[in-house]
Symmetry: C2
Subunit: 222 residues, 2 copies
DNA sequence: ACCTGAACACCGTTCAAGT
DNA sequence: ACCTGAACACCGTTCAAGT
């Protein structure tokens, strides 16, 4: 009775399975951060001892890389019905949205080493979109690298910001500005005061500008 | 005598200080990866118990964020003598080089929350370069975000690759290709076989292409 | 086939004690 | 002022034992 508090399963306890373990792990990482996702806590949340989890995942690394593949499964694939540019624009926005919902995903190391099926599928469809638009193999590699580097890097910068809501941003910027030696860093102070502290400022709004810059540049490559 | 094996100080033991602690921590992270940088191991390397380190750093978080600031100090600042584009091009290449020498630096969370003096100085000088080139405050913010997102993301993708040398790349690509269901992922297979397995392929070579794409795009914004 | 309890070899960090 | 030894509350993971 005391053991079951986590999930709130009312009737009989749900039989553990890999999908349930993954979903619960993702929920914990989303809510409390990846650093608080421990095998013991995950077990507790599922009403089970930590050691039971090893019947469903090989180890914590297996758990983490599978979680990343689950995030890739959430990304909208480029559509065959759109032209290449708007197809890739939509999937890029969807990609950033997924990384924004699951900020821990970009920090999981080793997920590039052995990508899961959803990740492979996603990459294959993006490459297909470039190739069918007329990009050569070499140019496709260049384009893919440039576009996804931007998306990953944007998500990383967004994640590293110490604020999310507009109110938090304003409050944080005020504190930073107060601490900042403005004599020494005048340009940084100016940007903070006159851009970040502007009403309605939201870093996420910067995303489409850089995205279009890159997509326009890729179009020029064609 | 047994205790001093790590550093190899011959004569009297070197007095511990913050700079020595930071440099040794960076050396460990560079050589063995950030996951093997523990307070106990760092102490051992310095010929001291782990607890002594707390006389020089507040805690492990303080250590990590200070290490990141030391990496920023290695980046070449944009020169006043170059035009804005080549000044930012040089510092961008230098930025990627620094992240390539210290791949753990992009994974340190919380380093964006309270940036160190070298980081602030670096940001200030990059913003200054945009402003003096004629970018408005708003356009400077857009440009800065786009450019550094690309650099961070490229470094992250580069780091997540399971190979570094050309030989490793070819060997790894062969293995990946053999495992890959080529019927299911034909475009990914094609790119791997005909681009990655090309003699002389090196992912790092992709960097300048995306960089110039972005810098040219920014120039068009002016 | 799945779950558990105890144990192992680790972590970061504290605190009182030494010099 | 700096360093140490013991201890605390954690980790991931193993293994034999239970059902």
């Amino acid at each position: 009775m005391a053991k079951r508090s986590g999930t709130g399963d009312v009737s009989s306890r749900v039989r553990l399975n890999r999908a349930l373990v993954l979903d619960t792990a993702i929920a914990i990482a989303d809510e409390s951060g990846i650093e608080s996702l421990t095998m013991r806590k995950l077990g507790e949340q599922l009403g089970v001892e930590a050691m039971s989890l090893y019947n469903h995942v090989a180890n914590k690394d297996d758990l983490l890389t599978s979680m990343v593949d689950a995030v890739f499964a959430e990304i909208e694939l480029p559509s065959h019905n759109d032209d290449w540019k708007s197809a890739l624009r939509k999937r890029s926005v969807s990609f950033r949205d997924a990384l924004s919902r699951h900020p821990w995903a970009i920090g999981v190391k080793g997920s590039g080493t052995n990508p899961g099926p959803a990740t492979l599928r996603h990459h294959d469809r993006v490459i297909a979109t470039f190739r069918n638009a007329g990009f050569s193999i070499t140019m496709t590699a260049h384009a893919f690298s440039a576009l996804d580097s931007y998306i990953y890097g944007f998500a990383m910068q967004e994640q590293s910001l110490p604020f999310t809501t507009e109110e938090e941003t304003a409050a944080m910027a005020h504190i930073l500005l107060a601490q900042l030696p403005t004599k020494e860093f005048p340009y940084l102070a100016e940007l903070t005061a006159q851009h970040v502290l502007t009403p309605g400022y939201n870093y996420a709004d910067e995303f489409p500008l850089g995205l279009d810059l890159i997509l326009d540049g890729l179009e020029r490559w064609l």
